[in-house]
């Protein structure tokens, strides 16, 4: 496990999720283990249907596992009721969606303020806090715009400002750049890196190696299990990094990383769609 010395924010053991659709049973997660430490920046990758979104929804307390344990900041989340989970989502988690999920009739500022509406206290100074969050994502000039008056990248910035408003323990983003062009993707990733540099723990689900290359660590899923969990330098996504590119050119790819990469490529080639029902 990487970073064994630091305290774990997320501690997941033997997590399973089974969906039942009619007579079919779909094992979206099959005994997944994962721990994420404070101030890490982790990319979760894997082919379509490998269970990335399912895992993210569990981590974000939006969904409950079928079995397994999930400790968030040392608290056993899997035993909480709907109200307690709501409070955890409000106070500990910032979630960024691929499709932004902004309220269309509200301004950027009002959208960012939304978590304070449901806060258990400390709603005072909400304007300043929301403005500060918008400032952090570089949108202080667009506070009174409605979502349809903003570009895709700006909308995602509003969504990120909303996610970081309550200073969450962890910022979860499920394909945050999936709806954005490459230029905007670069900007949004720079924003995530900036937040990470400011001390924020970040988990990003992505399909793109370029995106994963911005993270310190890459967790690859396959069939609802962790396929590989490596520091970026050892993951194939790392070949996009200039430093890694230079290093591998000199020494060659480390043996086990190369094997992982080969396995990964094979998985991509043969098991597109994860072998599960679509």
């Amino acid at each position: 496990m990487p970073d064994p010395g630091t305290t774990a924010i997320i501690e997941v053991r033997a997590l399973t999720k089974i969906y039942r659709v009619g007579v079919e049973t779909i094992h979206a997660l099959r005994g997944l283990d994962l721990s994420i430490a404070r101030n890490e920046m982790v990319a979760i990758m894997g082919s379509s249907g490998s269970g990335k979104s399912t895992l993210m929804n569990m981590l974000g307390c939006l969904d409950r596992p079928t079995s397994g344990a999930y400790h968030l900041n040392g608290r056993d989340v899997s035993r909480m009721n709907a109200r307690e989970l709501a409070n955890v989502r409000n106070e500990e988690i910032g979630f960024v969606f691929q499709s932004f999920e902004l309220l269309p009739r509200q301004t950027a500022l009002e959208n960012v303020e939304l978590p304070l509406v449901y806060a258990r206290g400390g709603w005072r100074g909400r304007r300043q806090r929301a403005l500060a969050a918008l400032d952090r994502v570089g949108l202080s000039k667009r506070v009174d715009h409605r979502p349809n008056q903003l570009s895709g990248g700006q909308r995602q910035r509003v969504a990120i400002a909303r996610a970081i408003l309550n200073n969450p323990s962890i910022l979860l983003a499920d394909e945050p750049t999936g709806n954005l062009d490459s230029q905007t993707t670069v900007e949004i990733l720079a924003l995530f890196r900036q937040l990470h540099a400011e001390g924020q723990t970040v988990v990003i689900v992505t399909h793109e190696d370029e995106v994963a290359a911005h993270c310190q660590r890459v967790v690859r899923l396959r069939d609802g299990r962790v396929l590989s969990d490596l520091p970026i330098a050892q993951d194939t996504a790392g070949r996009h990094l200039p430093a890694v590119r230079a290093a591998t050119a000199e020494v060659g790819v480390p043996a086990h990383a190369a094997a992982q990469a080969a396995a990964h490529t094979a998985a991509h080639a043969t098991e597109q769609g994860g072998g599960e029902t679509c």
Binding site: N57, G60, L62, D63, A82, R83, A86, N87, R89, N90, E91, F95, F97, E101, L103, R105, L114, P115, L116, V117, Y118, A119, R120, G121, W123, R126, R162, N166
Partner: protein
Amino acid sequence: MLNPLFWLQAISLAFSQIWANKSRAFLTALGIIVGVASTTAVIAALTGLKSKVLAEFESVGASKFFVFPDRPDNAPRNMYPWEKILLKPAEVRAIRDECTLVKAVTPITEVGLDVESGDKRIEGITIAGIWPDWHMVQNRFVEEGRPFTSIDVDSERQVCLINGDAIKELDLPANPVGEAILIGGRRFLVVGIVETTQARFFGMNTSSAEIFIPFSVAEKMQDRNFFMRIEGMFTSPDVAEQGEDEVRFVLRRMRGLAPSDPQTFQVAAIDKFIEQFKALATGITAIAGGIVGISLLVGGIGIMNIMLVSVSERTREIGLRKAVGATPMAILLQFLLEAVTLCLVGGFIGIAIGRLAAFGLTQIPGAQLEQADVPFWAVVLSFAFSAVTGIVFGMFPAIKAARLDPIEALRHE
């Protein structure tokens, strides 16, 4: 638990939701608007009618009583012929002489006669035969001249009292005291002018020519079996009950009725009428309340329907709110508040329309509804009913919203 910011945004969201779907909200609230408006108008009309009628009763005098002939229920006609049950002059004298709780009493008999004054002749004026106590019983005194006295009755004097309308119709001088007129061909001396009072039951008999003569004289001008009624006054409204018993006792004895015999007359004190009328008014108000209940039920089902639509339209929004930390309770309250707001807005419009209708009622000439008004309790009740409708019928959609699974809701569409 829920902070002030939540309530602030919940209320503003409820209103903006209504505003964003104005026509839909209006159509939905129509049931409530119509229900509240019609009930408000009915209550206003009843309130107006009630205070008007009670005021009239009041002006008649709360200690007043009436006696009139009455055939017992289900009794064969031949056993109780009309002649037998008609009130007799001897009976009213007995009431006057023997009933200690009766302060004043008068027989009243009416006869239609032709009246002449100079060249002027009016046919078939109603002439009333009365006792001097009539002044006190009816609370009507003379403006000019003198009232009747017992001497007028005892010595069967050919004197009369007339009112202003009769003076006009007969072309008499403004002060006709001392003039003579012909009533049924007999000469009568006008001794006084009786004041015309506005307060007559339900506006009947308003302003018309009235001529009064002593009862003893009228008796002579009537047929053998003539109709008379008795009006009287008890010493105070508090003794009305005992007073009635007294009158009943005297009359039964006069008529030789055995204790088992049914009564052949009715004694009624005015307070009975007041009570009956109040009961009637309360009954009608209750029925109006029932109607509002039904219309609110119908309106409530509309509210429930539109709230269900709203919940399913906004499933994604609910999912997002849950994702950023809305508890099930917060979502529940949000939607309940929306339903209640919708109902309250409907109730408010309904009350406004009802008030307008009430004002319209006061403007209808002759409808006796000048005092129609929406009482405060009706406003409070309408709002309370509307709010309860919102809570009751908003509950199911709100629970549905609160129970939505956050991730299912976010995946919706």
